[in-house]
Structures are given as structure tokens and as C-alpha cells.
Symmetry: C2
Subunit: 706 residues, 2 copies
């Protein structure tokens, strides 16, 4: 038992060592010319400036929320330890985002330099090594802090000498506050970063490429630095905070449900430890896969096709899945015993579902397959037809992942005997989510790899390196697009399952309060209204976020138009920093209203319509948010790759290409701002609901007159 | 009592007389020059050709479905009378679509001629008179056939001398088959017409306006006739079949729920008659409002602004609402007695909700308000920003209507004492839907008015009339866009409430079979999966329909490009008929898969996951479909009006205008193909589920092993 409790620390330690080695490997590479260093530095400074500004907004929210927590503690709705748990959750989410950005900017110019001097293989290896370090640092933080908090809390509440059930009840409740902290930062990082990156991208692209006929990342376009900063703050910082939150959320949800399912069993402690063991297994599996990929990739020559590179990535993913399957089998066997083999089947269902979602994402966003090819072809009849096609395929692409998630949920529920003991069934479902997400270190590696390659391309262009270098980095970038899409697919798939588990956790929490909830959306319209509210939540948040992007993008366009005009007319130099200031301000403004709503809505719905409506809200948000996220992420990914395909065909500058640029630009805020924020939305609503459950029940009991 | 049963016939008769008078008034106007007549005829012939082709596909489906009904009758799942009921439902839906198209093509060139000779007021009056005749014919059919079927069935089953409950049970069940027939034709008319109209529009616009720099409806663009045909088959034929289905559906749903709520009451017959009386009241209210509008409109001079015209339309709508409120009060008082006054409040809730949804639609789609103005402004930073903005505002626009519908549902449920007697509460909800839809004759009038004005503009352009004429018709068209959007908003709002009522009807039907359903989406993942399936249904159907539009549009573009090239090069004449053939074929192909799925999915879900999952499917489709429909309809409407605003500012031909044309073209299939088909989707799924309920319960009982 003690060994099991120590194991995650060991995993954490191993992955930290590996990460440090990787960082060392990256840093010993040359950063290239002075110009390249300068650009890379400018990107880092811009990213830091953004993050500092974001820190201010987050701090204000932190103070307000801590005050609210304080009030809840005062009235005995929460325990005092909630505050440090909440604070560490927020802090480590920020830390993970920050280190990710630092690592990416450390690597970017080095990748460009390697592409110039050593060729495709070594360049890709450096990008992937830096990205892997990012993924492993994530594992370090997740394993270390979930285990630390668990052990600290277990010891702390154990001092009072009550029963194990009471101790663990306290433990899992505080762990949820820990998750809220992480989710909350992730929400800000993801949405703020998403607004930043797309406002910069849309503005820079439109004025640069469409209006002025400059190439992507042309050094004469002063908005380009902001665009590259955006890649870091959105696709690295935001994405990593999101991944942290997802993985953490799935572990804590499983612990909560394990606690409920094993309440009357001697295996209660083991059931709570199992998710952490699977997470440790996933870390080990990821490390092995990373080594395999690294050794394969470093030998690649210039003639390697994008398809081969994508294939390599996929085989790495498959490796992780296979190893983790084996590890899960033994984890279940040794932690809870072969009597609970169904938990292994559940984890298998999660892993297979995750891999399938990845494949479906590929099918709908990779230009090797019909949807993206058709979208590219429709460029012949203009931008509108292309966009319409992109949206249509995006909608179509929701079907298979939805069916996959549904099958995984049904399978793991029934195989875990959910029909007789629904809490055990739900624990099975949550184990599926944990398994799916425990490949996170590898997924994050292939995901962070994308923006590093993107940045490397930008630096090559801005430093006016020979076009061959750009060609190499473009190949790296094309793989990055696909892997990023796979990562997004996986995150939303697992988010759906985790949120489902959290919805159940909420239900159980209410049940424990002896409040009777009848979830009948036919006989009780309050439940129906809760579902309805949930279904429109993604529409509300998408409109808020995209609205913010478009406001900021508009300002970028106006500023860029002026600056480019004077640059091209040799009348002055551009001021890249001005863009960062403009966008940072707007991005921060853009997240305030969503940030308030995400807390207010579950509480208001709970107080007005009762806890049953809150569960309905969670489920409605989850179902609708899942569909919207897949739709937006794949529509955007497919249109992006359709544009790349047209460029590969040498049609840059043609009306077809222009049409595809419009499509890409429409898809951008969908796939990088609104889409990815959905999974945090659905989970944050769940955890906020859980944490305010007792409060809501009390208040709604007082106000509730229907 | 006898008087009450005769009243709807009287209403039907009055509206028929009025319609005939209106048709006479329209037909006595001059059709204009030979050229104008020729074009008007070409539009009519094209529309008829399309309809004939559609008739073939519908006939095949009719035969297959009748055979299936036959099998169900053979095994005693249905009564023999289902077949004639189904057939009349289908037939009258077709008839209504056909007469609407005939009337519109009768009026279009006459409106142009009036615009040329008599000016704005008389032109608008003619368009509105023809549209009103359309609306009144709808009322004639709805009132006559619901009452006829009701009386025939009541007499037929009465012959066997059983209790009134048994008689009425049979009656309402057959009435539902009647609705299925109407819904099914409406589904084909709406989706087929929607695919046709937008394929033609997108193709004609892109090649004509964007590629060749021609004006809208330029006589040299041979795809223009197809575009004008599209307005008729989609926005008139499809819309009218849709309106018929909606109104009919709401009446029958209310009758079914009235039957359930009053099963043990002596007022059972009265409760079933009440919805028909309210519908009659709505017809009378509409006639009065039509007269008021006609007298105001005919006096308008050239200087009348679009805003004034929109205001007139709105005041007409308000008039209908006020009169119908008063009528409802007396209907409830004299049909079921003052003890059931809450039914009056429910109808009031429905009317107010309908009016509010109309206002919110205006707010989000009229260029007098911020969203559309902002969308138009964003044209300055290119087509992508404009589309992104359009999508974002479209998503935002779902919130207020959703809150309105939710409030109306909650209010009418609680005011009808739903907490103690949920079936009475649901009857209240269904009465709200009936009231909302009983303004249909007027709504259809202002809705059909749009395509007539649109056609009139097309004819003026194609006949090379002086630009002042086009200016006048453009004003008429601009009002038409807004009123069409209001009509769409109302239809989807009422569809949501009706589908809800139908979902309840399904539930009650299952309950009557003594099957126990626990609708707990937390403890039973089958219910959750049903909800999930429902939520993704709109995504599936949207992608299928839009995919069909874009395939057909592509063909139109290729053909138009060739034809215009040879026309502009004076190398040949265009062949407008070829477009109609191409699009008709593709439109018919495009509706086959959705047509099969809409029947198959509820049955498959029912058999595999049980009847509880079917209810969840209905509710999931309803919630998600509502949000999607409003989103698509308003996003499209706003982008259309943003384009019109830019044109009004005299910016035609500028990059801003081009950007807005792209936005309009993206929005078109959303607002006119996918969006409007959502309300039929959600209702058809409900009625198919109800009709196959017994079958599904039997089969799932045999197959169901979970």
C-alpha cells in the first residue's frame, strides 16, 4: 500500500529527470544568427508581457473568489484547506503554462537553425524534444501535486481519528477545490490565449496576405511577431493549462466516484489510489513512446513526406495506448484485485475511444482524405462555397466521435455492473476517462510540437533565410496542424466523459445531503429548462469569445494597415510591440464576462430552479459543448489544411488560394478560440456546481416556491 | 356543442371567400409587357417542373411508407383509417405548397408592373394581397381538414357505441397519422426547396456578381431564372408546407394532450375542440389585421422608408396578437368554462412569446440595430471577419429566444397547475403553442410576401425596366427579408413548444401501455445516449443538407461560368432550363438520405435502447435543433441585411461589398436550407416516435437485454 502511494512520486521524479535532460539537449543547440535570436527573444518577451497582464486579471479574480470561498468557509460550506488547494491549483496551472511558453521560445530559433544546417530530421527532433519536455513537466506536476495533496490531506484528516470514510470524504472534497483552481486558470489561459492568438493571426493574415500581397510571416509585416506570440500564449500556454486541467479533473473525478462506489468496501483507499497509478502508467508509456519517436525522427531525411511524419506520430500514439493497456491490466490486478477486472476493460474502452477519436479527427482534417480535399476543391467556386463546405463537414465530423464516446460510456458503465450498482458503473466510466487522458504527456508533446514548428517557420521567414529552410519548417508545421487537431479531439472527448463523471459526482453529493432529486425532464419542466440552458451555453460562450476575437482583430487590421503602408512606402518602421499591447488588452477584456458567467450561471440556476436543474445544466452543456467543440475544431482544422493543400499545389496568389485564406481565417477562431474553450466550460460548470452544491441546496430550499 | 363543432368550418369558409376575393383582386391587375409575362411564365414553369419531379420522389416514399403502415395495420399496431389520414395529410401539404407557388408567380410580374406604373404603395398592396390569399388558403385547409377529420372519425368510431374515451382515443391517434403525412411532405418540400433555392442562388450570385461583375438578376445571367424559381419552391412552397405542418401539428398535439388531461372529465370533448376554436380565432384575427395593413399600405408613397414598412408589418402582427388574445379569453370561457381560465393565460404566454421572438429576430437581423450594423462594418476587414462576426451574432441571438421559450413553457405549465397534475400542465403548454401558431395566416402572408417582392425585383431587372422600378422593388424586398426572418423565428419557437408537447404525448402513450420509464439520465446511460443522439441530430441533418446545396451549387457555378462566358462573348444564348434540371435532380437526391434517416433513427434508437431513450432523443433534438435553427436563421438573415445595407450606402462593387456578398452567400444555405428544416426535423421525429411507439415497445421488449 505504501508502495502504491509512493509510486506516483517516483513517476513524477522520473519524468522530471527526463524533462531536464531534454531541456539540456535542446539548449545545447545553436540559436542561429543574431537576427534569429532577436526575433525569438521578441516572441518570448511578447509572450511574457501578455502573461503578466493576464496574471493581473487572474489575481483580481483570485482575490474575489478567495473572498467568496472565505464566506463559504465561514458558514461551514467548505473547509479551510480549500483555500490553499484552490491557490495551488491556480498556481500550478499558471506555472505549467509559463514553462511551456518558455520552452517553446527556447526551442523555436534552434529548430530554424537546425533546419538550415542539419536538415529535416534533426530539426524535427529538436522541436519534438522540447515539446516532450513540456509534456513531461506536465506529468511531473500532475503526479506530484495530486499525490502530495492526497497524502497531505489523508494525514491531516486522519489525525482526528475518525473512520476512513469520513477522512476520505474530506480528502476528495478538497481535491475538487484543487481542480477548480486549475480549471479556472486554464479557462483564462485558454480563452485569453485563444482570443490573443486568433486576433493576431486574423489581423496579420488579412492585412498582410490578402490586402498587401505579402507572404505569411513576411518580415515587413509588423503584426507577425504578435502572431507568433499568439501561437505561444494560445496553442502552448493555453493548451497546456487545458491539458493539466483535463487530466487533473479526470483523476479527481475518478477519485470522487471511487470513493462513492467503494464507500462500504474495504478497498476504498485502493479505489482512490487507482486513478493515480493509471496516470503514472500513462507517464511511463509516454516516455517510452517519446524515445521511440525521437530515435525514428532524428534519422529522417529531406525527402520524408508529411504523410510519413503523420504516420510516425500516430504510431507513437498507438504505442502509448498499447503500453498503457498492459500497465492498466496490472494496475487493476494489483491495486484492487482481479475481482475488479471490469475496471481494466473500462480503461481499455477509454483508450480505444481516445485513439478512434484521434483517427476520426485525422479523417476529417487531413488533406489525404475526402473532406479536406473536397473543401479544397470547392475553392474553385469561391470563398463562400468553401466556408459552407467547411462548416458542413465540421458538423458531419461530430457524428463518429459522438457515437464513439457514447459507446465507450455505455460499455464501461455496463461492464462495471452499472445496472445493478450504478455508482460502480460510473466509477468504470470515470476510469475510462482517466485512461484516455493518461496518455497526456505524449499528446501534449505532439500538440506543443505544432506551435514550435510554426514559430520556427515564422523565424525563418522573418530572418530572410533561404526558401529551402522555410520549406523544411513548412513540412514540420503541416504535421503539427494534424497532431494539434488530434490533441483537441482527444481533449474534448475525454472532457465529455470527465464532465459526465463530474455530473454524477454532483448528483451523488446531492443525494448524500438527503435531497430527493427526480431527474424527469418530462414531468418536471425545471429539469427541461436546465437542459435547455445547458444546450445554449456553448452558443453563449462561443459568441462572447468570437466577438472578442473579432473586435481585437479589427483593431489589429486598422493598425497593421497603417503600419504596413508606411513600411512599404519606406516612410517608417513598424512597431510590433503596439500590436501585443492592443491585443493583450482586448484579450483580457474579453475573458471577464465569460469568467463571471461561468461561476454565476450554475449558482443562479441552482438557486432558482433547484439542484436537479443544475445536473441538467451540466449534462446539457456537456452534450451540446461536445458537439460544438468537435464541429468547430474540425471545421477550422480542415479549412486550414485545405489552404495548405492549395499552397502545396503551388497555387499561392490565385483566386482559389484567396478563397482558402478566407476559409482558414473563418475557421481560426472556431478551432483555436471557441472550440478548445468548450471542454473547460463543461468541466468548470461541473466543478463549480459540485463545490457550491450544499450552498445551492440551502438557498434554493429557502427561495424555492414552485 | 354542435355550434362549436361547426365554427371551424365557418372560419374555413370565410377565409376561403376572402382568399378568392384577393386572388380576383390580384388577377385583374396588368401583367406588364410581353417580356415580363414571359419571364413570369418561365418562373412558373420552372417551379412546376421542380414540383413534378419532387412529386415522383414523394410518391415513391408514399408507396413505401403506406406499405409499412399496411404491415403495422396487419399486426394491429394501427387502424386502417391511418392510410387515408396519412394520404390526405401528404396531399394537402402538397396542395398548399402548389397553390402558394401558383399565387406567387401570378402576382410577381403584376407587382413589377404596379411598381412601374402606380408606385410603391399599390405595388406593395398587390404583393401583400397575393401573400394574404396564400395565408388564408392555408387557414382554409387547416381548419377544414382538421375539423372534417375530427368529425368523421368521431362519427365513425362512435358507431361502435363504446365510451367517449375509447372513441376519442382512436380519433386522436388517427389525427396524428394525418399530421405525419403533412410533416413528411413538409420535410421534403422544405428541404428539397431549400436545397434548390440556395444552390441556384449561390451559383448564380457567385458567377454573376463576383466573377463576372454582373448585377443581381442581370438578364445576361442565365442562372437567374433558376434563382427566382428557387424563391418560389423554397421560400413559398417549402415555407407554406412547413407552416401547414406546424400549425396542424400544434393543434393535433394539443388535442392529444387535451384528451390525456381530461380523460376522466366530462369536458373531454370540449378540451379537444378548444384548439380548433383558437385556430379559428386566429384566422379571424389575421383577416382583420390583413385588412388594416392593406388599407395602410396602399396609401404609401415613394418616400416611405423601409423602417416604416417594417413598422407597419409589426403593428399588423401586434394587432393579430391582441385580437387573438381577446378571442382566446372568450374561447376558453365558452368552451371549457372560467374554471379553466389558466388555459387563457397559457395562450397569452404563447402569443407574447411569439411576438417577443419576432422582436428579437428583428433586433438581430434588421440593419437598424447593432448586430447587423456591426457585421456590415466588419466588412472593412474582409470577408472572413464579416463571416466570423455573422456566426458569432447568430450564436448570441439564440439566448433571448431560448429564454423566452423556456419562460413561456414554465409559465404555462405552472399556471395550469402542472405541479399537481402534470398532464394538465402540459395541455397548458400545448395551448400556448396553438395560440402562438394561430396567427399563422398573417405570419404566412408577411412571409410569402418576401419572395413575391424578390421575384418582382428579378423580373424588373431581367426585363430591363428603368432603375427606379428596381429601387421600388428593392424596398419591398428589404421589408420581405425582415418579415421572413420573423416568420422563421416564430415557426421554430412554436416548433420547440409543439415538439415538447409531442414528446409528452409520446411519454403518455408509453405510460398507457403500462411500460415503466424512468427518465433518469444520471442513473441510466441509455437515456443519456438518447439525449446525446438528439443533440447531434441537427448537426447530422445540417451537414447532409448543406452538403447537398454545395454539391448542386458547384455544378451551377461550372455551368453558369460556361454559359455566361459565351453570352458575354456574344457566342451564344443562355439555357436557363438546364439549371433547373441540374438543380432539381440534385435537390431530389439530397433529400433521400435525410428522408430515410428521419424515420429510421427513432425506430432504431427505440428498439436498441428502449422507449425512454426515444423520449430523450426527441428532447435532445428539440433543444439542440432549436438553438441551431435560430443560430442559422439569424446569422444568415443578418449577413443578408448587412449586404443590403452596404448596397444602400452606394458601395456596390467595393471590396467591402464583395466581403458582404461572401457573407450573404455563406449565410444563405444556413438560413434558407438547414435552419428552417430543423423545426420539421424535431416534430417529425416526435410524431414518427409516437406512431411507432407500440411497435417499438414490443420489439425492444424482445431484443432488449441490458
Amino acid at each position: 500500500m505504501l508502495f502504491l502511494r509512493i509510486l506516483p512520486f517516483l513517476g513524477s521524479f522520473v519524468s522530471l529527470i527526463m524533462a531536464i535532460v531534454f531541456i539540456f539537449l535542446v539548449r545545447k543547440q545553436s540559436r542561429g544568427t543574431e537576427k534569429m535570436k532577436e526575433i525569438s527573444n521578441a516572441i518570448f518577451i511578447g509572450s511574457r508581457a501578455y502573461l503578466n497582464q493576464q496574471l493581473k486579471v487572474i489575481s483580481i479574480f483570485f482575490v474575489v473568489l478567495t473572498a467568496l470561498l472565505g464566506v463559504m468557509i465561514k458558514f461551514n460550506y467548505l473547509d479551510l484547506l480549500s483555500i490553499p488547494a484552490f491557490a495551488t491549483g491556480m498556481g500550478f496551472s499558471l506555472l505549467i503554462g509559463y514553462t511551456g511558453m518558455w520552452l517553446s521560445t527556447t526551442a523555436n530559433s534552434r529548430v530554424t537553425q537546425a533546419a538550415k544546417e542539419k536538415g529535416l530530421g534533426p530539426a524535427m527532433n529538436i522541436a519534438f524534444t522540447a515539446a516532450s519536455a513540456s509534456g513531461l513537466l506536465l506529468a511531473t506536476v500532475v503526479l506530484f501535486f495530486t499525490s502530495s495533496w492526497f497524502n497531505i490531506l489523508y494525514w491531516w484528516y486522519g489525525r482526528f481519528g475518525t473512520t476512513q470514510v469520513v477522512i476520505l470524504d474530506n480528502v476528495v472534497n478538497i481535491l475538487i477545490t484543487f481542480t477548480i483552481g486549475a480549471s479556472f486558470t486554464a479557462f483564462f489561459m485558454r480563452t485569453g490565449g485563444g482570443i490573443f492568438t486568433k486576433a493576431a493571426d486574423m489581423g496579420a493574415d488579412y492585412v498582410g496576405k490578402v490586402e498587401s500581397g505579402l507572404k505569411e510571416d513576411d518580415y515587413r509585416n509588423p503584426a507577425t511577431i504578435a502572431d507568433n506570440v499568439g501561437d505561444n500564449v494560445g496553442d502552448v500556454g493555453g493548451m497546456k493549462a487545458d491539458a493539466l486541467e483535463s487530466w487533473l479533473g479526470s483523476i479527481v473525478a475518478a477519485e470522487f466516484l471511487g470513493f462513492l462506489a467503494f464507500r462500504n468496501s474495504p478497498l476504498i483507499l485502493e479505489s482512490i489510489i487507482l486513478p493515480m497509478i493509471i496516470a503514472t502508467g500513462g507517464t511511463i508509456a509516454s516516455i517510452i513512446a517519446i524515445f521511440i519517436i525521437k530515435s525514428v525522427v532524428s534519422r529522417y531525411k529531406e525527402d520524408t513526406t508529411v504523410k510519413m511524419l503523420t504516420g510516425t506520430t500516430l504510431s507513437g500514439m498507438l504505442t502509448t495506448v498499447i503500453i498503457l493497456s498492459i500497465v492498466s491490466y496490472f494496475s487493476v490486478k494489483y491495486v484492487v484485485g482481479t475481482g475488479y477486472n471490469f475496471l481494466f476493460y473500462s480503461s481499455l474502452a477509454g483508450l480505444v475511444a481516445g485513439f478512434l477519436i484521434g483517427l476520426f479527427t485525422l479523417l476529417y482534417t487531413d488533406s489525404a482524405y475526402k473532406p479536406t480535399r473536397r473543401i479544397a476543391e470547392s475553392a474553385k467556386s469561391g470563398p463562400a462555397t468553401l466556408v459552407v463546405n467547411g462548416l458542413a463537414y465540421g458538423m458531419e465530423s461530430t457524428i463518429l466521435p459522438a457515437l464513439t464516446v457514447m459507446s465507450a460510456v455505455l460499455f464501461s458503465f455496463f461492464v462495471s455492473g452499472g445496472l445493478g450498482n450504478y455508482q460502480m458503473g460510473l466509477f468504470g466510466v470515470s476510469i475510462a476517462a482517466v485512461a484516455m487522458l493518461s496518455t497526456s504527456p505524449f499528446i501534449v508533446a505532439i500538440d506543443v510540437y505544432g506551435p514550435i514548428a510554426d514559430n520556427a517557420g515564422g523565424i525563418s521567414e522573418m530572418s530572410e533565410l533561404p526558401p529551402e529552410v522555410r520549406k523544411t519548417t513548412d513540412k514540420l508545421d503541416a504535421v503539427g496542424n494534424t497532431t494539434a487537431a488530434i490533441g483537441k479531439g482527444l481533449l474534448i472527448g475525454s472532457a465529455a466523459i470527465t464532465a459526465l463523471a463530474l455530473g454524477h459526482a454532483y448528483f451523488s453529493k446531492i443525494e448524500l445531503l438527503n435531497v430527493d432529486i427526480v431527474l424527469d425532464f418530462i414531468k418536471d419542466p425545471k429539469i427541461l429548462v436546465g437542459l435547455f440552458m445547458g444546450v445554449i451555453m456553448p452558443f453563449l460562450f462561443t459568441s462572447l469569445l468570437i466577438g472578442a476575437v473579432s473586435r481585437a482583430a479589427n483593431k489589429v487590421v486598422i493598425e497593421a494597415r497603417e503600419q504596413i503602408k508606411s513600411i512599404l512606402g519606406n516612410k517608417g518602421k513598424g512597431d510590433p510591440k503596439k500590436f501585443i499591447t492592443i491585443i493583450t488588452k482586448d484579450a483580457q477584456k474579453g475573458i471577464i464576462v465569460p469568467g463571471i458567467l461561468i461561476f454565476a450561471i450554475p449558482i443562479v440556476v441552482g438557486i432558482l430552479l433547484g439542484p436537479g436543474a443544475v445536473i441538467a445544466l451540466i449534462i446539457g452543456t456537456l452534450l451540446s459543448g461536445f458537439a460544438q467543440a468537435i464541429f468547430m475544431s474540425n471545421a477550422g482544422g480542415a479549412m486550414d489544411n485545405a489552404k495548405k493543400k492549395i499552397e502545396e499545389e503551388g497555387k499561392s496568389g490565385t483566386p482559389e488560394h484567396m478563397a482558402s485564406v478566407v476559409g482558414d481565417t473563418v475557421g481560426d477562431p472556431l478551432k483555436d478560440t471557441a472550440g478548445p474553450s468548450m471542454n473547460i466550460l463543461i468541466k468548470l460548470i461541473s466543478v463549480v456546481s459540485i463545490q457550491t452544491a450544499v450552498l445551492v441546496v440551502d438557498l434554493s430550499g429557502k427561495l424555492f416556491h414552485f
